[in-house]
Amino acid sequence: MNLSKILLVEDDPDIQKVVRMSLKLRGIKDITVVENGEECLAVVGQVQPDVILLDVMMPKMDGYETCRRLKANPDTRGYPIIFLTAKAQQFEIKRGIQEGAIGYLTKPFDPMTLHEQIVAMLKQNAEKKP
């Protein structure tokens, strides 16, 4: 399971730092951070991340719309997406998965196990593929 390059789409600067530090603790240094869905769509092809961590409530373009657009584009539909969001109600989680994400992590997350949770979701997703 290769996890070395992450694209974080998050508008809150404090959470950006916490995620960055939490992943750095596990040896991941290549983390690109953008602040909304539009920026994510603009850079994803260039970054080619192993996983996209996607917030939902963001200015300009929210996470659900971003996910839908990434999945609708043949060039970007292969990037695994994990929502990382404060929207924690059951119907919101269901919606995130329906939009095509491989996983859904709710805030507040545990920075000490964030890396493990991402890896577990990526592994589970890889096992599902034929």
């Binding site: 809150d12 404090d14 959470i15 916490v18 995620v19 530090m21 939490s22 603790l25 409530m57 404060a86 929207k87 924690a88 109600q89 059951q90 709710t106 805030k107 507040p108 997350f109 545990d110 920075p111 000490m112």
Partner: protein, 359 residues
């Protein structure tokens, strides 16, 4: 009908309809007639089916619309239902509560049925606002908590370098209370959702023993830490119950955690499952100091921390949530306790054989 009685009924904002045993209209008040552009006197003696035909021509009627279903004239039940009528060629949606009960003569004989229709548009709007508030509150509270918890956890992990023992102790206090605040936010939002009727139960038929065993596994570490023995007593066979597995586990886990927290070290917490009069009953009993009689009424209230439960990490909402969830399952929950004689929390759920079919 007396003039005054008619005036009273015509002045009420609710729609009122009375039918005889053959479902012919005995009375229709002005509010109901006005809603459908009808002239009340012309409708006396006509079949109620003519009225429902008009309603059906304009709106898609819900299945639980009692006036439409042709209730047996001897049906003694008082029924109440929330109905949603969708306009056939438009976007209008009516939210209405229908209350119906037998119409009795002065000698008590059933002479027909009375139907009362209340406009629920305002209540529906309040529900929508409450949902919006829950969604916003959830996001706005969780986001800063993420930064606080994340930062504290990272410092404690040594990410930012070595810290002194005092700093570590202070940060552990911050971390512990941060976790408590997160539990509190989750519980407040959970209870608000249940009370707003926004929790959809994923009902399935199961043996309650399975849910109880999973809850026991979940709290085993807490029990070990407090040196408490967990004992499960159950009959060889238990009728199935129709429940949301996760939600019932949440209730049992809550009762078990409380029982463990309030038990003396090396004590025992017993969980007993049994069948009582068509109900499946679960009883969680501890050997704690018990609850005074004058406090028993309060235990299911919100933020009712009995004794030193706040210091034991409780949010004060666990039992309120448990009660709301058991009510959602059409069950009952109560407490029995005496000072210095332990406490027993009991809930009952209808056994599957006793669940009436949807028809």
């Amino acid at each position: 009908m007396e003039v005054l009685e008619r005036q009273v009924l015509d002045s009420t904002p609710c729609g009122v309809l009375a039918v005889d045993r053959e479902a012919r209209i005995l009375f229709i008040n002005r509010s109901l007639a006005k809603a459908f552009g009808l002239d009340p006197p012309e409708w006396i003696g006509r079949p109620a089916a003519d009225l429902t035909a008009i309603i059906q021509s304009r709106f898609e009627c819900p299945e639980n619309f009692a006036l439409c279903s042709g209730l047996d004239p001897d049906d003694r039940r008082a029924l109440s239902a929330f109905l949603e009528f969708r306009q056939r060629n438009g976007e209008q949606v009516l939210h209405v509560r229908e209350d119906t009960r037998p119409l009795r003569s002065s000698n008590g004989a059933i002479r027909g049925r009375i139907y009362v229709y209340t406009d629920m548009a305002r209540e529906k709007e309040i529900d929508r606002m409450k949902s919006e508030f829950i969604a916003i509150a959830s996001h706005e509270l969780r986001t800063p908590m993420t930064s606080i918890k994340g930062s504290v956890d990272l410092i404690l992990s040594g990410y930012a370098g070595d810290i002194s023992t005092d700093t570590q102790e202070l940060l552990e206090i911050a971390q512990k209370n941060c976790d408590r605040l997160i539990r509190l936010i989750n519980d407040i939002l959970d209870l608000a959702k249940i009370e707003a009727g926004q929790v959809r139960l994923n009902l399935e038929r199961l043996d309650l023993t399975e849910a109880v065993q999973r809850s026991i596994q979940g709290v085993q570490a807490l029990a070990d830490q407090n040196e408490i023995e967990l004992v499960l007593e159950r009959p060889a066979e238990l009728p199935l119950v129709e429940v949301d597995k996760d939600r019932i586990e949440q209730v049992v886990t809550n009762l078990l955690s409380n029982a463990i927290k309030f038990s003396p070290p090396r004590g025992q917490v017993r969980v007993a499952l049994e069948v009582v009069d068509g109900w499946v009953q679960c009883c969680v009993q501890d050997q704690g100091s018990g609850i005074a009689e004058d406090q028993l009424q309060r235990v299911f209230g919100k933020f009712q921390q009995l004794g030193n439960s706040a210091r034991k990490g409780g949010t004060g909402l666990g039992l309120a949530i448990s009660q709301a969830l058991i009510n959602e399952h059409r069950g009952r929950i109560w407490v029995e306790s005496k000072l210095n004689q332990g406490t027993k929390f009991v809930f009952r759920l209808p056994a599957c054989a006793d669940i009436p079919s949807p028809s």
